[in-house]
Subunit: 671 residues, 2 copies
């Protein structure tokens, strides 16, 4: 093994050091007055309460899976028992990233609110630093983990699938964090809105609303921890899939290709750190511009470094080409998402215009925009796949490997992407705290400006998350196919066809289950808020104290209960298909789920984002503005879009990756 | 060639004779008073005006395609020039079925209204006879056409792909009839409702509404002619695909397997005629029961006859088994559709309950029901595929052939299915005529009862149409794969993967395009109706005469204009992919489109049907009944569901079949 491998954990550790330093800097900022501290503490306690409840369920789940893997490995001799250890390690790393990242985010929110009293640049710095900690934890723990496993187990760790356990661990946590978090955040949001805004007629983020803390907690558990776990999974999944393909498919060379994804990810971390520093030091008053410059610098540097690696170490520009294809595809998909979901462009404005004839036409046009928005990203991904393959196959005979490498390229700047993404909910929270603590309206204006940019970056982040989940799942799928030696099959093989149908159907079922879960959880929240308004004396007058904790605990309990069925489905279906119908059918199932999963995820995320911004477009004074009939119509679309964009859509990323990694880990049993 | 082949055109001709006789019987029924005759004439003229406008566009389209096929066949030597003749013949047969079937349907509607003055049994007989003519024309012309082509060209006609031209002709007409008809019917319906019911406050089917005739015309062009052309395409497509597979894949036997699908379809026609006679003679007062008995008798007899053919002629029960699998799957999918869309069951009642919290929850629960409703049909189809393959492969080594045969089995009772399906819109029209002619309310009560049963049978028919389109497309796909000698491919072949993605995306794009088309066409209709209300003096008072023709012509023009883009897409994409990326990518595209096309079709059709009946459930007095807030919420869902269930969903059947048949016909160019 080349000594170069040590670059990997070292880069990871650097990221962790920068994260730790940034966190300590954030902590030194002023947390504002007592009222603010009190509110912030309630949010943090709520978030931590969710995590600790989640971990209680998680521990059982992880222990059972680890025991199964260990037992199979020990007795059946087809799986290496150390896979169980790697699994536990992967789960632990993801948990740590989520736990510490969210902890810092819930410290940064109140400090952002306080910094906003001084102006935009100060507030941007705190909010973005909070996001940066999450981003650096994700890539730092991810790369350190994979790097150490590779150093300990070597090529055998890859060839015998030990390292796959790490990705499965990450996936398991992502399932809980993204699906559970997605249900939590929308149950709280819808519950708070339905009773507070609609029935009681009090504004958003009003402290009299018993669900207001749960709503703010939801932003953290859903958009910070959930999103972080999702990208942690993609990040390590893409690296591990590429390493596996290097072992299975490629010929040996001077410097092993197994090392390549690790090296690209290492330089990506360094580039991300530089990008983060630029945003932090920018001090500008245009947050959107600062974030964009940071992202482009990270991307540019990564490409520069990768060119060096590709040409210097491997004496070929092939790997550089594949990385470019992936990274460019990721950025283009993000920009396309912005086109379909921002009120600056035609699609959203069209939905607003259609809302003039009522809620039904608002819904129809939103659904049509969502469906149409699948076209361009699918073509971009397709081109990236063909280009990466074409370069790889024709020059080095390593086409499939290069497709997986494109995923690594796309995800190389994950540190920066997560930072940009997590800054949104922190700003959103800061605005809520400013409102609840009755700060000067100009503070709220600053946080609103940050939040508005955050909405755009969140949409872009969602597009990026879907695109990367897609390529990662494809990489894992290729690794599965290579590991079970899935021979060439006939496209009319009935097992394959049936697999495609069943796999294709799963995202529809998964989406229906998660949408219904939000409905039930929100219903429970509505009941509780109504009960408090009725039974707590003086609540509306501001003299009674609402029971925030109770709402937090209802969200927590419903989220964990509701994710059991979809969660079991994601893990069990590949195993059932693999055992019952064999490896070809499982291949078909993965391919079918991948195709419709990506399509449904793009459709739902973009329709939801477009509805949201069509409402905001009307609220900005178009077609009659707030309280008009048109606005009412757009509220219907926005409400439908909530579970679309924040629960069901993002959860599909987890479904397709988790199914692939389960198949890869348990592949030896299907041969 | 065995003399048995003559059974095919003879059965077809018998069906045509029975159709002709039934039509003459219908014509002898009393057409009611002058007012009724006048209205009926307006509907008939409108329907025929649509057809003749459609034919003008059609002729150009068909001529161009025929010329291309002929030229390729003549010069390039890879395609037989006679394919162009078969293509024209197929188009002509489908046009004839649609033309005469709709003509009779528009004669039966007014006679049903008149017969309803005498009671339910009389009205049922006329309405059902009208549907039966359509059903018999579809199977009669379809089987006569295919049979004659086979007699003329023999096995060579199949092997050289001449006969595929017939299926392509049927597909081309289906594209115009189903997509154009679907846009027409919803533009008129939504336009009539929005201005009439909502703005002017006049009831449905009120003669003062200028769009009322167009609305009734829409029932005929969409639900009679469109549905008929869709099933005509499936019917001949499944037979031709199975014949092709018999030539490509199976070994010869005493009685050629090419003959088998023709024989099964022949006995299916005879069984359907018996079933139709039973319904006509039933004279009962429970139309639902009569229709069900007729369907089960047809199915049972078909199986009995098929058992005879399978054992008697081929000395094997294999083919009987495959037929059973297909026919059972078709019936079960129909019943499942009923479960998800009838107000007697939980899903629809759940949507109604969710509507208590407003339009947004109505939409979310409807979408969730639609998505969930994909699960069971997909599993049923999967089981049918596996069973048919397993029987065929293990016993006769003819697995893929037997999958196609299952499609033939499912479609063998198409005569009966179409009759049951087309009876619905005839009853619906009869109710409209009764309303417009101010007949005794008890007449409307009879037609309403018939119509209500018709809604259920329409939902079942839609499920059946999707299931059969699915298996037909799969058969055509298998024929394509066999004809281009699509070798076994790796599931990670990037061309295949990209094909799957692009193919999977097409149904999303197609649905978005057709939904937007309905929106625009309905908008044009709304403007015209508003204009007439404003400018024609005395219209609301009943002294002025609305300009029905103008509304009919607006619907016609918009429908034809709006179907151009999706239509070109369906034809062009397979050719572009085939030429640009090759046969593997095209195989992936067909598979991807098949999977998501079926899923989206089921999702959209069932969500639409469920929303419709949730509204009716509330109107029946639940949750506050008509004019309540809950009712308003259900109206939103119903309006969203209209293009879902009557335009976009059914059009997807055409998309997947047309793409497959285009690929099959032009396959020689991609080798």
């Amino acid at each position: 093994m080349s000594g170069l491998v040590w670059i990997t954990p070292i880069s990871g550790l650097i990221a962790l050091l920068v994260a730790g330093f940034t966190a300590s800097v954030i902590n030194k900022y002023d947390a504002g007055n007592d009222r603010m501290k009190q509110i912030a503490q309630a949010i943090q306690q709520g978030a931590m309460a969710f995590l600790s409840s989640e971990y209680k369920v998680l521990v059982i789940f992880v222990a059972v899976v680890a025991a199964i893997i260990g037992a199979v490995g020990f007795f059946a001799d087809v799986m290496h028992p150390m896979t169980a250890v790697a699994f536990l390690f992967g789960a632990a790393c993801s948990v740590a990233a989520g736990y510490f990242g969210m902890r810092v985010a819930t410290q940064a929110n109140v400090r952002t609110a306080q910094a906003a009293t001084q102006g935009m640049p100060q507030a941007l710095r705190v909010a973005f630093s909070g996001g940066a900690v999450m981003g650096l934890l994700v890539v730092g723990l991810g790369l350190t983990g994979v790097g150490l496993l590779y150093i300990v187990f070597g090529d055998d760790g890859v060839g015998k699938g030990i390292i796959n356990g790490f990705a499965l661990g990450a996936s398991s946590i992502a399932l809980f964090a993204r699906v559970g978090g997605g249900i939590y955040t929308k149950a709280a949001d819808v519950g708070a809105d339905l009773v507070g805004k609609v029935e009681a007629g009090i504004p958003e983020d009003d402290p009299r609303n018993p669900a207001v803390i749960a709503d703010n907690v939801g932003d953290n558990v859903g958009d910070v921890a959930g999103m972080g776990a999702d990208l942690f999974e993609s990040y390590v999944g893409s690296i591990i899939a590429t390493m596996a393909l290097a072992i299975y498919l490629t010929s040996t060379s001077d410097v092993s290709l197994v090392l390549l994804p690790l090296l690209i990810s290492s330089v990506g971390i360094l580039a991300s750190i530089i990008g983060i520093l630029i945003v932090q030091r920018s001090g500008g008053t245009n947050p959107s511009l600062s974030l964009r410059i940071g992202t482009f610098v990270s991307g540019g540097l990564t490409l520069l470094f990768t060119a060096g690696i590709s040409l210097g170490l491997y004496n070929s520009w092939v790997y550089f080409g594949a990385t470019v294809a992936g990274l460019l595809a990721g950025i283009i998909i993000g920009l396309l998402t912005e086109y379909y979901t921002s009120s600056d462009f035609k699609p959203v404005q069209g939905i607003a215009a259609q809302s003039q004839t009522g809620a039904a036409t608002n819904i129809i046009s939103g659904l049509a925009v969502g469906m149409k928005s699948t076209v361009a990203p699918i073509l971009v991904i397709s081109i990236a796949i063909l280009v990466a393959y074409w370069i790889g196959e024709n020059i080095a005979g390593e086409g499939v490997f290069c497709i997986a490498l494109a995923a690594v390229g796309m995800l190389s700047i994950t540190g920066m992407t997560v930072a940009v993404d997590a800054y949104g909910p922190i700003s959103d929270n800061a605005g809520g705290i400013a409102e609840m603590a009755h700060l000067d309206p100009k503070v709220r204006k600053v946080t609103d400006a940050l939040d508005s940019v955050g909405n755009t970056t969140a949409a872009i982040g969602k597009g990026f998350a879907i695109g990367s989940a897609d390529l990662t799942a494809l990489g894992l799928f290729a690794a599965y196919a290579a590991s079970v030696k899935l021979e060439d099959v006939s496209l009319t093989d009935p097992n394959l066809v049936v697999g495609l149908f069943i796999g294709g159907m799963l995202p529809f079922l998964f989406s229906a289950l998660t949408m219904e879960a939000v409905g039930r959880a929100a219903g429970a929240m509505v009941d509780e808020v109504r009960r408090q308004f009725k039974t707590i004396p003086g609540l509306m007058e501001g003299t009674g104290q609402p029971d925030y904790t109770r709402c937090v605990s209802i969200s927590t309990q419903s989220a964990l209960r509701e994710m059991i069925v979809p969660g079991i489905m994601a893990v069990a279906v590949p195993l059932v298909i693999g055992f019952a119908l064999g490896k070809e059918a499982l291949g078909g199932t993965l391919a079918g789920a991948l195709v419709t999963g990506v399509l449904m995820a793009i459709f739902m995320a973009n329709a939801g984002g477009a509805w949201d911004n069509a409402k905001k477009f009307v609220e900005a004074g178009n077609y009659g503005g707030k309280k008009s009939e048109v606005h009412k119509a757009t509220v219907v679309g926005d409400t439908v879009g909530d579970p679309f964009k924040d629960t069901s859509g993002p959860s599909l990323n987890i479904l397709i990756k988790l199914m692939s990694i389960v198949s890869l880990v348990f592949a030896p049993l299907f041969i």
